[in-house]
């Protein structure tokens, strides 16, 4: 006892046991930390009953060995309830509210790509090979195994199958070479090309990537002509269809087309699945998928919500009314406009919902494009002159416009990546946005100096130079208001402006017409790395066909573009072919050229978006994010939303 070594040993032991004690205690309190694994899983009572009755395997057998753990926005939820949504009658699976379950996906804030169906992946240094690791034990909604064979099947028999689709989607083809998709083993699949594919992950995380995991080999082989010739011949004659592609599209469907989800026998990986055909119905319900591969951090199998219901509502005012009465749980983006905010506010108590702020992934509320290849040579030369665009840009009172049309939300902005994007350039975003009529006049004088007695600018022959802006009023009603204001600003600096208000119908018939004048369009893909996916949106105009023809045909057709445009087109081709640091360099050069060229005029950075979310729906992250290539608001993890017990 008087031996000092004994006391040291005791102290050491004591210290050690204290450490052990505290470490064990820490895991018990870490309810919000990512659980590494679970010894048991919990499931919805609805499924537990079925397990007890013997019609469903136990939850541990239904989940993969390594399920995807999802963090919740507020707190661990409760099971049960029905979430209600509206649909316009077409395109149920439009990915923004349903259907987004790809191989890899965007993080909630859109800043990076994170695992979804794939648990991890490796990319070769030269970006020619992508190896995805799937989840062992993951199952389709009918209980069958999900493995690499399903993805290979998708590639060989659907995407690159000429009977089904004449060509695969662009991101699977690099320099004319189609991908080689191989199953390395049951749970590892490899995509490879001879050349680098710089944007594969971003494309796989977009709505165009969901198709990769939509075709269960064991179920879909019966629909493939080469694998089941007799069965298909009979099915086609039964349906009196002679064209295989037509039959395939109406029976199997792909890429978000209606028939895709109209078949309850088809296996899915989504959280909610159909139990009966729903097309044409006024109201229909999807049920939870017992084999969904995600769990929350407390080892509860997701989703929390048992059912998802859709009601038919084609008219926007009806969609709005349904949100106002609280029937619908999340208002759709098309009715959650600045104009409607006051109506939402007035009915908030009665409808029992709250505002949830949303960010936009868009670069701009709208942009003006100038057809630089217009058949009228004089007009083309005016549009090709940068001073013309600069002048018009300075003539716009953006602050007033934002105040009037967007409830004061947003800031003056050009067509440029958003502030938090790695490709943000302050010069690109803010150049020429000051409202200065005199300066505008000076710039315009450099292009169209002749004016008539009323101050309107003239062509060399003495006629007024008139610009025509076509607006589709059925698409965005606030664009019509914006254009009225723009007309005022531009006429104040002497440019006669005609606003053509078109409906959907007439807009369609005018597409691609070479006579089209100034174009007005969206500016999307501005957040995070999204600008990489649509660099064309930063270029001059979708209708610069002569220059594009030249570039695509390598000089055989079309007109030669000026050197800076040529370079921009070259860079656009390069972007998908390089990866990592090289990709950033190419993009940086592209951004600089665009900034210098100033091909499009932007108006304002979108801000102030919102959704009306019913108070009974929880775990909705704030802010939400809108977009397309980032299919907002799907990545907000609908599977973690839950409905308050007392309001189920």
């Amino acid at each position: 006892m008087n031996n000092p070594i004994f006391w040291y040993k005791l102290a050491g032991a004591g210290l050690l046991s204290m450490c052990l004690l505290f470490s064990k205690g820490n895991t018990a309190f870490a309810s919000s930390k990512q659980a590494e694994s679970c010894s048991t899983y919990n499931e919805s009572p609805m499924l537990a009953d079925k397990v007890a009755a013997g019609s469903l395997p136990a939850v541990g057998d239904r989940l993969p060995d390594e399920p995807l753990f999802v963090e919740v926005a507020e707190q661990i939820g409760v099971y049960g309830g029905t979430m209600v949504d509206t649909t316009g009658g077409n395109r149920l699976a439009e990915f923004r509210h349903y259907g987004y379950e790809p191989l890899v996906r965007w993080s909630v804030d859109g800043s990076k790509i994170v695992p979804n169906v794939a648990k991890s992946w490796d990319v070769s240094d030269d970006a020619t090979t992508y190896t995805f690791h799937l989840r062992k034990g993951m199952k389709w909604s009918d209980g069958e195994d999900f493995n690499a064979a399903d993805i290979v099947f998708w590639w060989e028999y659907v995407e690159s199958n000429k009977d089904v689709q004449s060509k695969p989607r662009g991101y699977m083809v690099v320099k004319g070479e189609q991908a080689t998709v191989k199953a390395v083993d049951d749970y590892t699949v490899r995509f490879s090309w001879s050349n680098p594919n710089g944007l594969l992950l971003e494309n796989l995380a977009s709505p165009y990537g969901v198709r990769v995991v939509q075709f269960a080999e064991h179920y879909h082989r019966q629909f493939i002509k080469g694998l089941n010739p007799d069965g298909i011949a009979k099915a086609m004659s039964d349906a009196s269809v002679t064209d295989y592609t037509q039959w395939w599209n109406s029976t199997v469907g792909s890429y978000g087309k209606q028939p895709e989800y109209n078949n309850p026998a088809r296996p899915f990986v989504q959280a909610w699945i159909p139990r009966e055909p729903f097309l044409g119905k006024e109201q229909f319900t999807f049920e939870r998928n017992p084999y969904y591969f995600k769990v929350d951090t407390a080892c509860n199998q997701l989703p929390y919500i048992d059912y998802r219901q859709w009601v038919l509502a084609a008219e926007t005012e009806i969609q709005l009314a349904k949100s106002l009465t609280g029937e619908v749980d999340i208002s759709r983006v098309n009715i959650s406009t600045p104009a409607n905010r006051s109506v939402f506010y007035d009915n908030m108590k009665q409808g029992d919902y709250r505002f949830v702020a949303a960010d936009s992934a868009d670069m701009n509320v709208a942009n003006f494009q100038f057809p630089e290849n217009h058949p009228d040579e004089f007009r083309a030369s005016v549009y090709q002159n940068k001073n013309f665009r600069i002048g018009l840009s300075h003539a716009i009172d953006r602050e007033e416009l934002i105040d009037v049309v967007f409830l004061g939300q947003g800031e003056p902005y050009q067509v440029a990546p958003r502030p938090r994007s790695p490709f943000y350039s302050e010069k690109m975003a803010k150049q020429y946005t000051e409202y200065d009529r005199e300066l505008a006049g000076d710039y315009l004088d450099k292009v169209l100096s002749k004016k008539d007695s009323e101050g309107f600018r003239l062509r060399p022959n003495g006629e007024r130079f008139v610009v025509v802006i076509a607006v589709n009023k059925d698409f965005k009603s606030d664009w019509v208001d914006m254009m009225e204001l723009i007309k005022g600003y531009w006429e104040a600096v002497g440019l006669e402006t005609v606003i053509e208000v078109l409906s959907d119908a007439t807009s369609t018939s005018r597409r691609g017409s070479p006579d089209n004048d100034i174009g007005l369009w969206l500016s999307e893909n501005g957040a995070g790395r999204l600008p990489l996916l649509a660099p064309n949106d930063l270029l001059g105009s979708d209708e610069d066909l002569e220059w594009k023809k030249y570039h695509v045909s390598k000089g055989k057709e079309g007109t030669e573009p000026p050197p800076n445009v040529k370079r921009m087109l070259e860079l656009i081709d390069q972007i998908p072919l390089v990866a990592g640091a090289k990709q950033n360099t190419v993009m940086a050069e592209f951004i600089e050229l665009v900034t210098d060229n100033f091909p499009r005029i932007g108006i304002a950075l979108p801000a102030g978006n919102y959704r009306a979310v019913s108070n009974r729906l929880r775990n909705v992250p704030e802010p939400l994010m809108e977009g397309w290539m980032y299919p907002g608001i799907s990545p907000a993890n609908f599977s973690t939303f839950y409905i308050l017990k007392e309001k189920q």
């Binding site: 005012e317 709005l320 009314a321 006051s342 019509v480 009225e484 606003i499 208000v501 078109l502």
Partner: protein, 366 residues
């Protein structure tokens, strides 16, 4: 000399009968008023139809006040409205308007205002009622979503809406009488063929027909051309009813003795139709025509609602109502529905007028 039924002229008798029908008479008065508004549009409207003030988006109506209070406590009699101070409140989504007692906008009659071309003839800039300072703006019935004066726009729309009715009805009338007359007079295969065509036209549901015809209007057509084509569309559907009535009457009259006499006399068919048969039911035609106009007005609003009618920058009641047709307007800016009131008054007036005319039309009835 007291006029009695025995010695009064035809016209006097009709007028007397007409006055008895009080509603009809009221309708007549209001119709005259509305058409006067259509004629003197620019003079009657305080502002032009398109000037706007961006800060006055959805401004509520300004009540007319009469006493101006000065700081010393003095009061002066001067009709005026108070200008607005406004601020956007993002949370509630509303623009809050507060009357500013320091912004007195005096009103007057015969004031100088927005310039206009009276009937395309000469420039003028006086307005019957408006702000004394031409740069001020007054919103008796509030402002719309761009800050344009609702009253002015409604008044301007009167001209378009009331004349579309006229032009359309005139076309229908001509078509109806011609075709119905030919059909009824000649009978036989001519009649058969025309009846079949009428039946076909009447059996096609109106909306697809409208949409189909509207799709034929080139979208790049200038507004006036669009206006004209819309009236043609409206009349293409309208003439069938009148044609049937005319035909029926013609068939009845065909066998009358005096018509037979006229034919034997060697009169050409067109002369017989025009000189002998038409005057017989002239009053009936007038009544039917008057009653068709409101139908045209309502049809124009429906076409605008469907998105296939008139469009900006042309303003008609239909165009204005279509802009107002949303829940936001009902709950936060109900003054935008003033054009609806105008439609009601116009349609009612014309209907009662037509009823009165028809009732009065046959003075020898009893």
């Amino acid at each position: 000399m007291k006029v009695s039924a025995g010695n009064a002229s035809y016209r006097d008798l009709i007028w007397r009968r007409f006055k008895r029908h009080r509603l009809g008479f009221l309708g007549f008065l209001f119709t005259i008023i509305i058409y006067l508004v259509a004629v003197f549009t620019e003079f009657l409207a305080p502002h032009s139809q398109s000037t706007y003030k961006a800060r006055d988006v959805y401004a509520p109506p300004q009540p007319i006040r009469f006493l101006v209070k000065y700081r010393k406590g003095e009061e002066m009699l001067q009709p005026h409205v108070l200008g607005y101070r406004s601020k956007v409140d993002y949370d509630t989504g509303k623009r809050i308007f507060v009357e500013d007692p320091r912004k007195v906008i005096p009103l007057g009659f015969w004031v100088k205002g927005d310039k206009y071309n009276l009937w395309g003839l000469f420039e003028f800039d006086r307005h019957i009622l408006g702000p004394i300072n031409p740069r001020d703006r007054v919103y008796f019935f509030g402002a719309d979503r761009l800050g344009r004066d609702v009253l002015s726009r409604t008044i301007h729309a009167t001209r378009v809406s009331m004349t579309i009715g006229l032009v359309g009805v005139a076309l229908s009338l001509v078509l109806g009488i011609m075709i119905g007359g030919i059909s009824g007079y000649f009978g036989g295969f001519v009649d058969l063929g025309i009846q079949r065509v009428i039946e076909i036209l009447q059996s096609i549901p109106s909306i697809p027909l409208w949409i189909g015809l509207a799709a034929a209007i080139p979208p790049t057509a200038p507004p006036i051309q669009t206006y004209f084509l819309i009236t043609v569309i409206l009349s293409i559907i309208g003439w069938t009813g009148l044609a049937r009535v005319v035909r029926g009457r013609f068939m009845a009259l065909k066998d009358e003795d005096y018509i037979k006499a006229a034919r034997l006399d060697g009169n050409r068919p067109m002369r017989i139709i025009g000189r002998y048969m038409l005057p017989n039911f002239f009053s009936h035609i007038i009544a039917v025509v008057t009653l068709s106009i409101p139908g045209m007005i309502i049809a124009e609003t429906s076409l605008s609602f469907l998105g296939i009618g008139l469009r900006q920058p042309v303003v008609s009641w239909g165009v204005l109502l279509q802009e107002a047709q949303n829940l936001k307007s009902i709950s936060t800016a109900p003054w935008l529905f003033l054009p609806g009131l105008a439609v009601v008054v116009a349609v009612l007036s014309l209907n009662f007028l037509g009823d009165g005319l028809r009732d009065a039309g046959d003075p020898y009835e009893n």
